[in-house]
């Protein structure tokens, strides 16, 4: 956990006061909607189809039990009793009133939570690996650096009115769970030959209308230069990013148009002037931030305690265990993923009651800590293996133990046309239909790891380009149609999916997905060859033949 001090709390309180004033001026007419919109967006407030929507940041995916409980409170008091976890380590409340927003924000600010910069043309919530400080794979806790960037970017006076939004993601593990290659800036923390920490810097990745994989512009940026280098990137982008066309305003277009080399040269030139200035992170500053992260005091435990071994005799528990538990860096502990994908329910949604249950369990078993991943599931990063049977029983009772993590029914979906003012087609009911089609979890396990991503429009909040199977909703003559891509992936081997064939109607989607899966089962060399590897080996043609031509 990161502990806010009085500076952070003061700033949050001032922000709430400012927003209260802005809402007041909007309601009185002193601010026009055009003037107010960027201000509300920078506080995470959208106007959607049916109501205002509040997006609240979960910086680097870390939440305390108290914070999650407060979200449950906000869901109950100001919304309709549930929230939606997004692909960017945020939570959204869908039915909130503008008049009540300042109160809801004040309630959140009391526990150090806010919607600052979860929207708007500014540096957004910095995301990272939901397994930070728990996985044995990482070289350092990436949240330290995400927090340094969070502070640096919060209300940055120079970079709050950028050409377009700006998303930064960090991984400190070779296996990338933060999708850094499809962010405006992706940072991979690693050590050089001398053992020093630094970042590989990628720039210009992103999804949306014009998807790109990020391009490397630096192999090794010593960590002390993180802020000056980012400032140089931002300054080049702020001045030279396109502002004439909203669809060409992201940094990826600038990088694409002038080339990564020319872009990098501009950044280096700018960086040269500021690298040794006030932004240089000295050891004291880094140590200070590091000291604010409170880590669990782990007990000395052994792996595979008798409670666990015994529970694994129960087939239901064992199934859940294999799906939901990952290796922890400390013996006797585990990383537990809480599936928010019960078959047939909206992906990523949790009720206020479920949030309370998870907060209670985190308090009792998990050092009060909860994480949120871009797959729209939650995670208890530090649980003792001996407590897993009790945790499972409690999660199961709350509908939170669906053993489908990473399976075909663990679908990533944006809110789509059921909520979103930008959407062209629905996403959630499509996910529900597909999940129901694969409701037999034995069958889903036989298929293996398969990520299905659904977006209700080209803005790609469901990250469809990087789904193993990607589904994009489009509109044709007033009807919903869906384009299917296969072979995308969001990890360290990130790549964009390839279009499989003509778009199909809403009703046809589950059949089509089933045929793709059947084709894979027929084409794979053995059950250990994952879907995405079969596509990589064979390309899309054999899939196309089997999926389209038989029908």
């Amino acid at each position: 956990m990161y502990a806010y001090d009085e500076f952070d709390r003061t700033l949050l309180a001032e922000r709430v006061t400012e927003f209260r004033g802005q809402v007041g001026r909007r309601l009185s007419g002193a601010l026009t909607e055009d003037e107010f919109k960027p201000l509300r967006l920078m506080n995470g407030v959208y106007l959607q189809l049916h109501a205002y929507m509040l997006r609240v940041a979960i910086p680097y995916g870390t939440l305390s039990a108290d914070q999650l409980r407060r979200m449950a409170y906000v869901a109950r008091t100001y919304d309709r009793g549930y929230g939606h976890f997004t692909t960017r380590q945020n939570i959204q409340f869908n039915w909130i009133k503008l008049e009540e927003l300042p109160e809801a924000m004040a309630a959140l600010a009391e526990v150090g939570v806010h919607g600052i910069q979860t929207s708007g043309n500014c540096i957004r919530n910095v995301t990272t690996d939901q397994w930070s400080a728990a996985t044995p794979e990482e070289v350092d806790d990436p949240r330290i650096w995400a927090e340094i960037l969070r502070q640096y970017s919060t209300m940055h006076p120079e970079f709050s009115y950028l050409p377009r939004k700006f998303k930064i993601a960090i991984t400190a593990a070779d296996h990338d769970r933060a999708a850094i290659k499809v962010h405006d800036v992706g940072l991979r923390l690693h050590r050089n030959a001398a053992g020093e920490l630094g970042f590989e810097v990628l720039v210009g990745g992103g999804l949306g209308r014009t998807p790109f994989i990020g391009k490397k512009i630096k192999d090794f940026l010593p960590v002390r230069h993180l802020l000056s280098y980012i400032e140089a990137v931002m300054r080049v982008y702020n001045q030279f990013g396109r502002r004439d066309n909203i669809y060409k305003a992201r940094i990826k277009i600038l990088v694409h148009e002038i080339g990564a080399e020319a872009f990098s040269a501009e950044v280096e030139k700018e960086w040269e002037s500021i690298r040794d200035g006030a932004l240089q992170l000295d050891d004291a500053v880094i140590a200070d931030i590091r000291s604010r992260f409170i880590y669990p005091k782990f007990e000395k435990l052994a792996d595979n305690p008798p409670e666990l071994v015994e529970a694994l005799q129960d087939e239901r528990f064992a199934t859940w265990y294999r799906s939901s538990i990952a290796r922890h860096k400390v013996p006797g502990y585990a990383i537990l993923t809480v599936s928010l994908k019960p078959v047939g329910l909206p992906p990523g949604d949790a009720t206020a009651d479920q949030m309370d249950v998870i907060a209670d369990l985190a308090e009792r078993y998990a050092f009060r800590e909860i994480r949120v991943g871009h797959e729209q599931n939650l995670c208890l990063p530090h649980v003792a293996q001996r407590d897993l049977p009790a945790l499972w029983r409690a999660l199961d009772a709350a509908g939170l133990a669906t053993p489908n993590v990473n399976l075909v029914s663990d679908i990533i979906a944006c809110p789509g046309l059921d909520y979103c003012a930008l959407a062209n087609a629905r996403a959630i009911p499509v996910a529900q239909d597909i999940a129901r089609r694969f409701a037999d979890l034995d069958r889903a396990r036989g298929i293996g790891r398969l990520h299905v991503n659904i977006s209700g429009c080209i803005n790609a909040c469901g990250h469809h380009h990087v789904g193993h199977i990607g589904i994009l909703g489009v509109e044709k003559n007033g009807q919903e149609f869906y384009q299917i891509t296969i072979g995308g992936r969001a990890d360290e081997q990130a790549q964009l999916g390839t279009l499989l064939g003509p778009a199909v109607s809403y009703e046809e989607v589950p059949d089509l997905i089933e045929r793709i899966v059947d084709a894979y089962l027929e084409l794979r060399t053995n059950p250990r060859e994952l879907f995405v590897d079969t596509v990589a080996r064979l390309g899309t043609e054999p899939f196309k033949e089997r999926v389209y031509e038989a029908h």
Binding site: D5, Q22, D66, N238, A284, D288, I294
Partner: protein
């Protein structure tokens, strides 16, 4: 439209002169960047102050050779959503050491006053009169700042150093 300088409403002494207009004798003038670049030598010999309106789509580096002869630099926000002039302002103050008045013009609204001040603007041409009256309140709306700019305000990162990080009760209880 009210012009604010460091919190006070002041009269604008400068006359904006179009590129094809003759310069009024003895009066402080604001000319375009084009005119400055074209007639720089003549403008330097003028007896009265010369300021420039520098557009936000021209590299600010090009102004450097003229800084000594300028009495005012005005930057432009065509809409408040277009933030290029913030970068230009910081570069003028922090890179080129511009000490003279730096004016924000265009769509200048109270919700951005503090950002402008932090970027180095000390004159604001407020679009709405009511906004100008709120200047003092706006500048006081925040007392804590995370990141350094050239404005001299202390930053949270530095202010924390030397102090012991609080260990909140709730986190300890978990251990």
């Amino acid at each position: 439209m009210k012009l604010i300088e460091n919190g006070h409403v002041i009269a604008d002494r400068y006359v904006r002169v179009a590129d094809d207009e003759a310069l009024p004798e003895g009066a402080p003038v604001l000319v375009s960047a084009d005119r400055l670049l074209r007639e720089g030598a003549e403008l330097a010999r003028r007896g009265a102050p010369v300021g420039v309106v520098w557009p936000n789509n021209r590299r600010i580096e090009a102004i450097e050779p003229y800084l000594d002869q300028l009495a005012l630099i005005a930057l432009v926000f065509p809409t408040f959503r277009d933030g290029r002039a913030y970068s230009q302002a910081r570069l003028l103050r922090e890179r080129f050491d511009w000490q003279g008045p730096l004016r924000a013009t265009g769509n200048v609204l109270r919700d951005q006053f503090l950002y402008m001040s932090r970027a180095g603007f000390d004159q604001l041409e407020a679009t709405k009169d009511a906004d100008a009256d709120a200047y003092v309140d706006e500048l006081k709306s925040y007392t804590a700042f995370y990141q350094p700019t050239g404005d001299g305000r202390p930053t949270i990162l530095r202010a924390r150093l030397g102090r012991v990080a609080e260990a909140p009760a709730q986190a300890e209880a978990a251990e």
